[in-house]
């Protein structure tokens, strides 16, 4: 659906040319939820804005829905933009218009529908985002979560194929963030809309994304399925992002447990095996003792996973490790240098 081919973006400043993006190659499939993470200034905002050409690439090719849009202008550009919805961190609603007028706004721009059809579409959209009774309210009267819902309804007005989310939940409290992410997941599931979102919170990615790209200094340092990046991050930048969501071993606890000897392992289980009584089976069959150092049992989108760091002590530690591997548990030895 969206293809970045060797995309680069530089712009002139007083201090010379600044490279915002360098050699980006990415492919986003139709119907998937694709995340882009990175620190501030990593280029993710710029990359997102290339998709609807709010920013233009200075190098490379950009393909959206089978068309090369790299040099698109004028009417063609406006048509492209009407197929792509966008929501923003600070909502960007028109304060002088009511909620219904805000949602209808994209529809009034291309004048394809009659007033009655517009009103109908607006009602449907407001119902879908859960704001049915607020059609005549003004944005100033709404909470942050409600404003973002209006933003989402507005972005969906033209029945787009792609939805761009620029840090859509960064200005919301955790509970509201959950609600909005659930709404986005629902929209993706029910309408099949491709969603590209940028965030600096890995937890957002964990909850809704299928695949993710990590950006640093204008380059993609790692990309792939969320489960892979989350559970087995390769690049140091990726590790840093994941670690904010998966705290590592507390050094004091680790020191205390070192006294007991044994092997320190990180176990990762995905999918149904999460529900197996892993540790008790291990103790019984292999006769080892397990001490948990840290752990998390959660979901990546719809995939349950568990990741545990533990210390195995006893004579049969190696046999235990083999048994685990045989049971499709990913074992990482943390104590070997």
């Amino acid at each position: 659906m969206i293809e970045f081919k060797n995309i680069g973006k530089t712009y002139p400043t007083k201090a010379g040319q600044v490279t915002a993006l360098d050699g980006i190659d990415l492919h986003i499939a139709a119907g998937e939820v694709f995340g882009m993470v990175g620190a501030s200034g990593a280029g993710k905002s710029t990359l997102l804005r290339l998709i609807n050409l709010l920013e233009r690439p200075t190098q490379g090719e950009l393909w959206v829905d089978g068309d090369n849009i790299t040099a698109l202008r004028g009417t063609g550009l406006r048509q492209l933009r009407s197929k792509i919805g966008m929501i923003f961190q600070h909502f960007n609603l028109l304060y002088a218009k009511t909620v219904a007028q805000n949602v209808a706004f994209p529809l009034t721009l291309n004048r394809a529908l009659s007033a009655g059809q517009i009103a109908e579409r607006v009602s449907e959209l407001l119902a879908r985002v859960g704001l049915a009774g607020l059609a005549h309210a003004y944005p100033a009267q709404l909470s942050g979560g409600q404003k973002q819902r209006v933003g989402i309804a507005r972005a969906l007005a033209n029945l787009p194929k792609i939805l761009l989310c620029d840090e859509a939940t960064s200005a919301l409290d955790p509970h509201t963030t959950q609600d909005i992410l659930s709404l986005l997941a629902q929209i993706n599931h029910e309408l099949g809309i491709t969603i590209v979102l940028i965030t600096h919170e890995m937890d957002v990615v964990r909850r809704v994304c299928d695949r993710v790209a990590v950006l640093d200094g204008g380059r993609v340092v790692e990309s792939g399925a969320v489960a892979d990046l989350f559970l087995h991050p390769q690049h140091p930048v990726t590790r840093r992002f994941v670690q904010e969501a998966l705290p590592e071993i507390d050094p004091l606890i680790d020191a205390a447990l070192q006294q007991h000897g044994g092997r320190t392992l990180r176990l990762t289980v995905r999918g149904d095996p999460v529900h197996q009584p892993l540790l008790s089976q291990l103790s019984r069959d292999a006769g080892v003792d397990c001490r948990l150092l840290s752990g998390r049992i959660d979901r990546i989108k719809n995939l349950p996973y568990s990741q545990l760091v533990l210390s195995l002590s006893g004579d049969n530690a190696d046999r235990a490790i083999e048994q685990l591997r045989a049971a499709n548990v990913h074992v990482e030895l943390l104590d070997t240098p």
Binding site: M86, F88, A96
Partner: protein, 221 residues
């Protein structure tokens, strides 16, 4: 014994009052009509706005600044040939309106530019992302979102005009300010001056109150 009030030529004061209103009303109409587009154009070429162009903006700015730099009373006199060309006379109400417009347009345009700058650029970006044309953005986003600021700008301009119009006395323009200068300054008839100034105060207060009410009505934040 003749009282203070009997000393005053009320018919003349009334005529002056009506003249002032005519001057103000006439000039304000043209100022709003010409100043609004100028202000919009200035804003569009400003840094990081829709048509951002440092050179064009610098040029427009320069021209606007020059007109603003000229003291109004000098503008009145300098414009006399042009005024005669436009209205057939360089004195009276008709003679005052062109210079008032010339002085008021750059003034109002700058205030308009300032009011438009207050509109969150994110909202403009959102409109672009929806595929809006520049005209649609100006008409349906910038102007409605900036409306309270634009109304405040019009109010400030109207009140500044009251000040400017008082100087029209220098060319026999008529109006309350003219009367205040002629009777109060040139003839030392202080009562007349006081009364005309009092009426001007009432006028300015009324304009400000009306302006404030309009701004409040259109503010939906």
């Amino acid at each position: 014994m003749p009282t203070f009030w009997n000393l005053l030529d009320w018919p003349e004061i009334t005529e002056a009052g009506l003249d002032s209103l005519a001057m103000l009303g006439g000039a304000l109409c043209f100022i709003l009509l010409l100043g609004l587009p100028l202000g919009i154009v200035l804003h569009l070429f400003a840094r990081r706005q829709l048509l951002a162009s440092a050179r064009t903006y610098a040029l427009l700015s320069f021209v606007v600044n020059i007109v603003r730099s000229v003291p109004f009373i000098i503008l009145l006199i300098l414009m006399m040939p042009l005024t005669t060309l436009l209205t057939g006379t360089a004195i009276g109400i008709k003679g005052v309106i062109p210079p008032l417009v010339a002085g008021g347009v750059p003034f109002f345009a700058r205030l308009v530019e300032s009011a438009l700058r207050e509109v969150d650029r994110g909202v403009v970006e959102a409109a672009q992302a929806m595929g809006a044309t520049h005209l649609q953005i100006i008409w349906q986003v910038l102007l409605p979102e900036a409306l309270p600021g634009l109304l405040a700008a019009a109010t400030v301009t109207a009140i500044a005009l009251v000040d400017y119009s008082a100087m029209s006395g220098a060319i026999g323009g008529g109006g309350l300010g003219d009367m205040a200068i002629r009777y109060g300054y040139q003839r030392y008839e202080t009562e007349v001056m006081l009364v005309t100034v009092a009426l001007l105060i009432v006028l300015v207060q009324a304009l400000q109150i009306a302006g404030n009410r309009l701004v409040i009505h259109f503010t939906r934040r």
